[in-house]
Symmetry: D2
């Protein structure tokens, strides 16, 4: 399923080394000011550049091809794509039958019978997230007074992020990290009991991001170690403000008006230059593989803006569902 | 949204102190042997009884009202409900305007303008999970060779579960816990890249269960602290078997044929007999509240079979999507 | 798929000769006054009784089992069912392997491998529509100022309906008819361009009703024989009122504020006492069959209120989507 | 909603005078041979050229931007778009506030508050169907042994199509027509009882095509005038073959293995050069309008391949749902 959302609905397409990566956004209110410049800041945050990120540099120019006219959304589906330019696929030919450890290669081989475009990870690549970030930009514009901010709070098990990245780089290895996302100004009442709880929808989209292996809301796993008397957030006014926020702004799957807080575990990138054993997918022969290409040492460095986008897309959809965003903006 | 799933699709209804709690299961293959007796074992595991569980005892008799004929599924929607019998709603009348700390009361008040049935938590109650367990029983029968097993591995931050429960009981407090779920025999290729990754779907349904605040797959948050060379699971044969299983059986959102493993953080029940402060939802006046009713000291004790059900429902849907379960069973 | 709708979402269950027929209604705003009495008038219109309708008489008592508390909707899913009482299944045993001409018997045999409950037509029975009518009652209450009215305008090819029915009865045959549905007060702007055009959604649900074989909006098939200059409805004020209404209130898939008009072709019931040839589904041997049971001579007589329900369900969903009905009613 | 389908799922985007019109196709099996040449024949059938069709000539070159690698589908979403080239938007500026009679202009103005791209009909334009035809090409390749063939059987109320078109052209008017679609080789068992009946899904997609105002299956409206004894199709062998085919290959919403037959009423194009009265959408002042642009005199001439595409998309989805098309083709 390449689609997600009920009202504000996104459909993704593209592959890492194909022609394009892009997205169709349906259900965006008409009348929203939108042009290519709006995407610059968030795309820049996702773009590699810092130490520890891939040397693959893409222009990441958002090409808005439908749904916007005279700098305003028309109410029709918005299609945005990014051309893939800076890739080198030859490196992948040799590895076609050698699943890279920790990658989707083997699973994809089984799922698609070998017909998938494995180059650069194909549709499993972190490259896909450029389109999610674009959707996030549109969603954030809809959300207005909701302010979403994610940050990498830990990498390689350490809060000294720069140091951890430097070491991994030296060791020809990779590291993961933990991203914390906070959203202020979220109104009470978003989410649906049971299947579309706010946590269900947020986790659904967050786990779509390559490399995510865990999520917790509020005090999360910490809650499981608290007493009820400690974990219960005490209400201090009739607007719903609570003294503590162990619930992370969600009770019973519904936002309660407090700050929305969640943390996401991002694993270390699987592609490392270090040699690792694998097995030929047809013959079963053991082999050694070293994934050269151009890869992130710590993809988590680039993850915060992606996680923000995921949160924004979910919240925009829920706000529209609750009639808290009008169908026509002015 | 009270529905979940694409092919094997469930729709939930009911409230804790309403007449019934139940489920409609659509898309179940025809020809599956099914009768009320099939539900007994799993319902028993969910039913209170042990120390630390609520003294509210329900008969939990599954009434199969459609979709089964002569002990076999017909291919039509299966409707199953459970009558609510053993409840005492009067206790709740006094608390109507006093949101219980840690509960969905305040959020629901805002979402439904005070029209929701707050008694016993209404549709936010753990009572709803009896219907999910019923769906899980049907899903497990479809899955056949896939064996799902969840267990409480920690409660109140301790592996000495019985002791932790006993203490909380004495202190008139409550505790949470961590449930680990493992599924063996899951074929490779389940899940869809991006939005319907196996992790996305599993987490979506697991977060629908009241009280869940976190989930991690494989080594989860632990992965975020590993090096890539450590986290990458090394393939050892061409069937996809890996040496380690930090990925928890999922790469790039697709199952890889190894054991599926995830852990779920369950918070302590919010309802505790201890007095706690709150605020009148209309007047804003501070007040004290003590939630008597009949509540679990440790709902996590009853959670494993619920988490199994969530996993089974997701896997059944994905197996049908991949044509790994026939539309007609014989 | 037993579900339909995006916000106001219905899920159907049951079989003609099973225990129950019912529906789960999700997404209904909270605060709507609703009790069993509200259903009486529409259920009565659907109930047999007049000449030409089946002598099977059901009490058709709506049992509201969830989602309503103190006579008001709570915002939780509303489950309503009807018990099946007045059926005689023995008659069907002999016909198990003899598909009735014009019935779903053969198609169902193939689809479900013979496991379906064929008695009384199972889930293909007109009996299912009692649940749709119930959903229609709820939808109509939401719609308020929109007034939907359907009527049988022709039966057996004649506008002299009573006469046509009487003749068919004498001949031990059956007849169909044409139902016209009109909705006044429908606001402009409902429906979505392309896939969820107002016509797409209305026809989708109308064709779910057993026996429907055609639908046309406005002048419909007549439009295909007009000139553009004749078919174009001329605007006469800025509120969108047009002189003629060949479009039936819909342009480009979107309602235009004029009266919504569509007509539905209902075929004659397949079950007739007259002897007809068929073939044994396993052996292929020819056989003769006479469908006795208790059947409608003209099901179209009972169809208007069912078609109204279909229209109401679609319009309620579209009104909620456009924020023209609040999420909380007061 | 710009999406349709459960497994084989399409998402449309674009506007008539925007940059592009295109489609994302999700759920297509991997391994299907596909290149730009496959689209030529069907696109040519849709392209204007004959007398009575618009002089707007588009290259209609399908740009496959994802989901295909080395001439085979990869299992990832297939994105195809067409650049809009040959349009003249200036003509539309003057008409911005003058809704064209019979068009979606007024309804769109209300729905999108005037922000929609009205040029050339925007997303309401027949231009959108080029993308649907492209999806149809892919769907037909999946269907293999199912042969779908639609034809214009009547235009302007006459079977002498060429003559009727010529007259309308002379009169500066436009005409509609009736398209009949037949599909041979459709297996029994497609469609779901109630909400996703084969008729429901086919009509849903067919009414998405601009200008469609009616649909009937088999003998359709004719059935409503038959006796049951005449309308019932008599089974003649155990494979489901029937003597007559008044049901059009569908009983109870499920295909029965006979030829699928339906007819579609297409209205005359609204855009005619003849002067017609309208009303200024803001001031309410009466005005006269003559829609010059370049328009079809009889859009129905180009409709058959579009209706085939709609049928193919629905059937491909249903075949995948029933496991009658494998997930990996070879």
């Amino acid at each position: 399923m390449n689609s997600f959302g009920r009202i504000f609905r996104i459909s993704l397409f593209g592959e890492s080394h194909g022609n394009v990566v892009g997205i169709v956004i349906d259900g965006c209110p008409a009348g929203l000011l939108l042009d290519a410049g709006d995407f610059a800041a968030d795309l820049k945050r996702r773009r590699p550049g810092a130490e520890g990120t891939t040397p693959r540099r893409e222009a990441d120019r958002p090409l808005i091809r439908s749904g916007v006219w005279r700098q305003k959304t028309t109410g029709a589906p918005i299609m945005i794509y990014f051309e893939n330019e800076n890739f080198r696929s030859r490196e992948y030919e040799a590895m076609r039958h050698l699943p890279r450890p920790g990658h989707a290669d083997f699973a994809a081989w089984r799922k698609y019978g070998g017909f998938h475009d494995h180059r650069g990870g194909g549709q499993f690549s972190g490259r896909m997230t450029v389109a999610l970030v674009a959707a996030g930009v549109v969603a954030k514009k809809i959300l207005r007074r909701v302010r979403i901010k994610a940050a990498l709070i830990e990498a390689g098990g350490s809060t000294k992020i720069k140091k951890a990245v430097g070491e991994a780089l030296k060791e020809m290895d990779s590291i993961g990290g933990i991203v914390e996302c906070r959203a202020a100004g979220v109104p009470a009442g978003l989410g649906e009991p049971f299947f579309d709880s706010a946590e269900s929808l947020l986790s659904h989209l967050v786990f779509a991001v390559p490399g995510v292996k865990g999520i917790e809301f509020g005090s999360g796993f910490g809650c499981s170690r608290m007493k009820g008397s400690e974990c219960n957030d005490i209400l201090i006014d009739k607007n719903g403000k609570t003294k503590s926020n162990h619930a992370g702004g969600i009770n019973g799957g519904i936002t309660n008006g407090n700050e929305l807080v969640f943390r996401v575990a991002v694993k270390p990138p699987s592609s490392i230059p270090m040699e690792q054993p694998t097995v030929h997918v047809v013959s079963g022969e053991p082999a050694m593989i070293s994934v050269r290409g151009r890869h992130d040492v710590c993809f988590a460095l680039r993850a915060p803006v992606i996680i923000e986008a995921a949160a924004a897309v979910v919240l925009a959809d829920l706000m529209l569902l609750e009639h808290l965003v009008p169908r026509i903006l002015e």
